[in-house]
């Protein structure tokens, strides 16, 4: 018996029976925590000297295997000849086929049947091409939502089944590590490790890690010592700058096969595409000088398109949605106007006046007015959420007059016993006949309030938010899938976990950043969703909510925008981080409703123009790779 606390991590502690034991911090993946435990390191295979057949190829045998069997033969009792015959049959059945037919779909048929995965033809074809035509080195550049992760999983599984790979490293943004773990476990029966400590790099054959951790010492040096059979990099557009630390780090990793996953291999400059291609297959497009001379008309415009297309098609696969390729189920968008009660209206008007006044009073930096903006939005979400923010403002406020006004507003918010918006929500859910619904809200207070209301009305609810550990999120997702009817989720909780088994989404309050709306909808409206998706956008009449809905829905038709497109649009008009700020300025800082509407219309025009330009000018579109 070994007492684990007597040893430090990584220390070789004992040799007993079948091989050395080493002590390591072991990650318990379901709980996402760490525990100290013992595990046996597989002894490295000892190979014989090489014997060359002609000058063509060497032959080696596993000496450790012979040694191990010699040990087994020393046992006095061994199974009889019928087992030997069965072993020969087992070995015959497990020989890799010589054909280029994928093994993984047959291997996983039972798993997929149970979890409800139906692989799409474009995903199978992509896996086949990467393995048998591209030598396992490719950029998977499908549009967002077409299942790049599935394609990469298929390729990894196929390589493992064929004995082509053993050591696999998947580098992703930190926020996607858990999602990769779950997808590979659930859909491919692959039990990967999630990197937690520097010991994980060497001891785990299938490892998922955050690229930001991996590129730092001491991790970077360990990784650079190893050779990976497969290297996968998700969100690979973050590698498009060849001078960046990310690029140089990935380029320094030794690997046999390499998959880069990105929906946007080029955004602003063809050089980005060149850099990514060079990571996968150096020299495929020549040196950059040669590439520029041969294929670049200007930064965003390729020339010699046929030649470039031929070279790219050897290393890049892009599947797109639309007729003749991948079709999604329909989205039905419903605006749900909510008429406030007289008391609620009074609270809204008084809070609005307070906020506008504060905005005008020289609190003219966004940071200073943020609590006011939040208050303005919360009052449309739920009075209880507004009351909590009023309480916080009160605690900070020193001016007696301001304190008096805040106290009045807080008292008014707490005095409201009726909530029209929650009533409409109850009616909506009751009308869905027991179908599962995800209700998104921006505020924790609203989330708690809604769960309380809905439970009281007889609905079974679950809460989902950013404070949950990955394991708990997974557990709640499973509870919702099996037993729940309503999931009330805050924004951060919506990222990374998918709910294709649900087809009703309620935007109880609207985020001001359209990217977050896209993320919300993307949880349910993605590949694997078999039913049409209904989206219900709640908006209280005559409030800023209505104005935001007008902008997003009527003006830029946000809810029908192609997944992934918005990211490009916002980057192009340089509003990625400042759209909420600009909206705040328009909605709270405009002198009159007319001015506000005019300014909103101008913003909408900018967004629509950028979208049209993005659609016309995508260099990949011009190359027609699909």
């Amino acid at each position: 018996m070994i007492e684990t606390d007597q040893h430090t991590a990584g220390e070789l502690v004992v040799s007993s029976g079948r091989g050395p034991l080493k002590i390591f911090p072991v990650t318990v993946p379901i709980m996402g925590s760490q525990a100290i435990g013992l595990f046996r390191l597989p002894a490295p295979e000892q190979l014989s000297d090489e014997h060359w057949i002609g000058a063509l190829y060497p032959v080696q045998y596993s000496a450790s295997c012979v040694e191990e069997l010699a040990g087994l033969l020393e046992q006095p009792r061994l199974p009889g000849p019928e087992w030997y015959r069965l072993l020969v049959e087992a070995e015959e059945l497990s020989l890799p086929p010589g054909s280029t037919e994928l093994l993984a779909p047959r291997h996983l048929a039972e798993v997929w049947r149970r979890v409800g995965v139906i692989p799409y033809p474009h995903q199978l074809e992509t896996a086949r091409r990467v393995l048998f035509e591209m030598g396992g080195r490719a950029i998977l550049a499908d549009e967002v939502g077409l299942g790049k992760t599935i394609e990469a999983g298929l390729i990894i599984k196929e390589c493992l089944l064929r004995g082509l790979a053993r050591r696999v490293l998947i580098l992703t943004p930190a926020g996607l590590v858990w999602q990769w773990f779950r997808e590979l476990k659930e859909k491919f029966s692959l039990s990967c490790g999630m990197q937690r400590s520097e010991y994980d790099w060497e001891r785990t054959d299938l490892l998922i890690a955050s690229i930001d951790t991996a590129k730092r010492s001491p991790h970077r040096e360990i990784i650079q010592r190893l050779h990976y059979d497969i290297l996968v990099v998700d969100e690979a557009h973050k590698l498009k700058n060849a001078t960046s630390q990310n690029y140089r780090f990935v380029n320094s990793i030794r690997r046999t096969y390499c998959l880069l996953l990105t929906a946007t291999p080029v955004q602003n400059d063809l050089k980005e595409l060149y850099n990514l291609i060079n990571l996968v297959r150096p020299g495929q497009l020549g040196t950059y000088r040669e590439f520029k001379r041969a294929f670049v008309a200007d930064r965003r415009t390729p020339k010699e398109v046929d030649g470039l297309r031929r070279l790219l098609s050897q290393v890049l696969i892009r599947n797109r949605r639309g007729p003749g390729s991948v079709q999604f189920t329909a989205r039905h968008v419903h605006a749900v106007p909510v008429e406030l009660s007289q008391e609620e209206r009074a609270l809204y008007e008084r809070v609005t006046a307070f906020v506008k006044e504060g905005y005008r009073k020289g609190r003219n930096t966004y940071r200073n007015v943020l609590p006011l903006i939040t208050l303005q939005r919360e009052v449309c979400s739920s009075p209880i959420a507004a009351a909590i923010t009023l309480e916080k403002l009160l605690m900070k406020e020193g001016d007696p007059e301001e304190r008096r006004r805040l106290e009045e507003l807080r008292a008014l918010a707490l005095s409201l016993h009726r909530n029209r918006k929650a009533e409409v929500l109850e009616e909506l859910i009751a009308g869905l006949g027991g179908e599962k619904v995800i209700v998104f809200t921006e505020y924790r207070a609203t989330q708690h309030y809604l769960r309380w209301r809905l439970e009281k009305a007889g609905f079974s609810t679950l809460g989902f938010d950013g404070s949950l550990s990955p394991g708990r999120k997974e557990w709640i997702r499973e509870l919702f899938r099996r037993h729940g009817q309503v999931l009330v989720s805050t924004e951060s909780g919506g990222e990374g976990i998918n709910f294709q088994f649900c087809c009703h989404v309620v935007n109880y309050d609207l985020p001001w950043n359209p990217m977050r709306i896209e993320q919300r909808i993307g949880r349910v409206h993605r590949l694997g969703q078999t039913r049409d998706v209904s989206i219900y956008n709640f908006a209280t009449r005559g409030t800023i909510e209505e104005s935001v809905l007008y902008l997003l829905y009527e003006k830029i038709d946000m809810f029908q925008t192609v997944l992934g497109e918005l990211d490009t649009i916002l980057t192009r008009i340089r509003l990625h981080d400042s759209l909420e700020k600009e909206l705040a300025d328009i909605l709270v800082g405009s002198a009159s409703r007319e001015v506000m509407e005019e300014r909103l219309a101008r913003l909408a025009e900018r967004i629509v123009r950028a979208r049209d330009e993005a659609r016309e000018a995508d260099p990949l579109d011009r190359l027609r790779l699909w």
């Binding site: 080696q60 020969v88 059945l93 049947r113 020299g283």
Partner: protein
């Protein structure tokens, strides 16, 4: 049913029979399998079977599985698992067989009154993996005579059809010859036989892989030379990328997957060793087979 599916069905049912499972075909194509907890753990590769999670404090002593080998039956029965070529369950059975049957022992009973003695052999199953840009494999089965060190391929084939019994020969029966070769020596004899076969066989796969490797290497070298001409420092990357190519160089890897320590009756007639196991198979007037 597909021929591959038939082979899988035969293999899995035989495995379950040897494991001691109770197997019942409840309706055409659907098999109900009862395993003890220990047998289930063996099948599941030592993992805790899924049923234990929900079994509570007093888990049942028997575990029930439903297997089918045809996709049509799987469609009809939601609870039935489709065990087919490449399926996860088949892989589990293969791993379990490997776990249980890597080393085995057998003898062929000696016919009485013929002055027989037992000669020790090793029946070996070698897996030969051909690695290059693609991957294929084959089995190499051979019996190695542990007294005179000769590898006999035909004997390995033949023994699979003979009524071998489990364990070593009975203690008070015919004498057993003293082996001169241990497993390592016997394996080397088998390995040399395999190398001779590889020398004679078609190496187009290696030729093709090597040519592709050379083309890729030339392309990379030309690219890095051009980079250097343009004043770029690519020496590290050049070394790394060229080293990576070695991973797809054609090569063959051999593993001894299983061995059966077998004792076969022989006798010496006019100075020649005669395998008694073969007598009934040989035409009356034919000469003794030349195994070597």
């Amino acid at each position: 049913m597909h021929a591959g599916d038939q082979a899988v069905k035969r293999f899995v049912l035989r495995y379950l029979e040897l494991l001691g499972a109770a197997v019942e075909e409840t309706e055409p194509g659907l098999f109900r399998i009862e395993l003890s907890r220990e047998q289930a753990a063996e099948l599941e590769g030592g993992n805790v079977p899924a049923w234990l999670w929900t079994a509570g404090p007093n888990p049942p002593s028997q575990v029930t599985y439903y297997f089918t080998f045809s996709p049509e039956t799987a469609q009809k029965h939601a609870a039935a698992e489709l065990v087919s070529p490449g399926s996860h369950r088949l892989q589990q059975v293969v791993e379990s067989v490997r776990n249980l049957a890597r080393a085995t022992r057998a003898h062929l009973p000696a016919p009485p009154g013929m002055g027989a003695r037992f000669r020790p052999f090793y029946l070996m199953c070698l897996r030969v993996d051909f690695r290059g840009s693609a991957q294929r494999g084959q089995l190499f089965r051979v019996a190695v005579d542990r007294v005179d060190g000769v590898p006999l391929r035909q004997l390995a084939e033949l023994l699979s059809r003979l009524p071998l019994a489990a364990g070593p020969p009975p203690e008070h029966g015919a004498p057993v010859e003293r082996p001169r070769l241990d497993l390592a020596d016997a394996f080397l004899a088998a390995y040399r036989e395999l190398l001779e076969q590889l020398e004679r066989s078609d190496a187009a796969w290696a030729q093709e892989a090597l040519e592709s490797l050379i083309r890729e290497r030339e392309r990379l070298v030309a690219y890095f030379e051009q980079c250097q001409r343009e004043g770029l420092d690519v020496s590290d990357e050049r070394a790394r990328r060229l080293a990576e190519l070695e991973a797809v160089r054609p090569r063959v890897h051999v593993r001894l997957q299983g061995v059966c320590e077998a004792y076969l009756p022989v006798r010496t007639v006019d100075g020649t060793v005669e395998h008694l196991a073969l007598l009934p198979l040989r035409p009356a007037q034919a000469p003794a087979p030349a195994w070597r």
